[in-house]
Symmetry: C2
Subunit: 277 residues, 2 copies
């Protein structure tokens, strides 16, 4: 399969490249705003249709990850990268006749379930799970732009010639390689001077992470399950590791896609030694 | 109540003005891109935040109707008027502390239920009704921009200081005064030379209209029920007259808002004489 990855050098894109690029089944093309020395890159901004359009020719699938990467970014950046950028990607998909799109949506589309129930939610003290059929409760324009992408996918599958298949993955927390465990984000924040290790803020961050962690190999597997799927036309899946404290359903991804997460944040009973520098 | 209407000179805005402006309960301010001789207007484009912002001061409610008005309009117009415009309106609402927003969404957010089941759907031959809890199936970027507005309303109510109440009304077909009956759109098309009166296309248009008609007095009533409501924080309602052939639920609007439509397209057994020119 020829597969184009947009926003290829972010957390999710690099997880996919690490795990899947060696497999003979896939020939990846990496598109990103920035070059990366170790990976041949089509350097282009999804906000510029003409710049990205040639990269879609001959592709069997597009994994669309390019977006303003955080909820706290200003509207103009979300508008350009996530709304106009996704419009451009979908138009290029349609124009090039690409059959399959895997789209990185976000748990933030349901973010207010968390915001209104935290921090009790983090310890799995609440008997509470949401799935793809629950009403969305976006917590930011970042989340609203993700919903824009989901709706665009639905529209193109139903009303356009391409794509034929669209998968919206509402991903939870994917980290970089150095922090790919339940302590990752908390440790990152320590490094950035946000708070002390073992402070209450740190503990809460770890507790949240035990619910929200989506390991790099699990997200790569989920994307691969989409690429291999032949049954879905349009569907929405939460993407998270098999953490007991998660409040996101994964049975839909299990049943439809055969997703079998290999990681579980509760299995990490001690902080990895590498953090004790 | 001081109420600002954006896009005030369109079909819905003029229906509201006709029906509600004489009531002592309301003091309306009309905002539109274009002036209207018979109605004092704040002339401004919602795509220009600085131009519209002053009109929000002191308002108790905003009825936000301004948008690219049809599904067949090009992306750039939808982006400017409906996406950026709605962002600007919501920011102005928040900044001015307006408590209540009534937003004109559209039945097109579920448009593919119609497209995939027409024309059988029009004669009420299918036992099929959708309500606000069914998954959306947007048929266009016009519809996706309406969903953008719904999601923004949800986000502001949950995460911002204002507004406290947001009503998304998924309106069906509201016409101008001259065509405010089930024959309206079909007659408009005859006048524009699209097809002959009593042709199959004409009959299908009338049949569709018997399902989709939302009379001017019914839409004005629905908006007034929102303005008078004190219970909703965020909610979504389909807005249509009490047509037996409709496939949109109105029990939610009845139960929550006390909406009592006065019109029913099936009661028009003959084409009004005024069309027989």
């Amino acid at each position: 399969m020829d597969v184009l990855i947009t926003g290829a050098h972010g957390q999710v894109g690099t997880a996919i490249a690490e795990r899947l690029s060696e497999k003979p089944a896939y020939d990846f093309t990496y598109l990103d705003r920035e070059d990366l020395p170790e990976r041949e890159t089509t350097v282009a901004d999804v906000a510029d249709y003409d710049a990205i359009r040639p990269a879609f020719d001959g592709m069997d699938a597009v994994v669309h990850l390019a977006a303003a990467p955080r909820p706290d970014l200003p509207w103009n950046e979300i508008l350009e990268s996530s709304i106009i950028g996704t419009y451009n990607v979908m138009e290029a998909v349609r124009d090039a006749g690409v059959e399959q799109v895997v789209f990185a949506s976000s748990h933030h589309v349901s973010g207010n379930y968390e915001i209104k129930n935290a921090p009790e939610l983090y310890g799995a003290h609440l008997d509470f799970k949401i799935d793809h059929t629950d009403p969305v409760r976006p917590d930011s324009y970042y989340a609203i732009a993700k919903l824009f992408g989901e709706h665009a996918g639905n529209h193109y599958v139903e009303n356009m010639d391409a794509p034929e298949q669209f998968y919206a993955l509402r991903l939870c927390n994917v980290s970089n390689e150095a922090y790919d465990d339940p302590y990752g984000r908390a440790e990152e924040a320590v490094e950035q001077g946000e708070y002390e290790r073992d402070s209450p803020e740190y503990e809460q961050r770890v507790a949240r992470r035990r619910a929200m962690w989506c390991s790099r190999r699990d997200v790569a597997q989920l994307v691969e399950r989409c690429l291999q799927d032949e049954t879905v036309d349009f569907d929405v899946f939460y993407g998270v590791s098999d953490n007991p404290a998660r409040w996101f359903d994964i049975s839909h991804a299990r049943n439809v896609l055969g997703y079998e997460p290999q990681d579980d944040a509760s299995e990490w009973t001690e902080r990895p030694e590498r953090y004790e520098a």
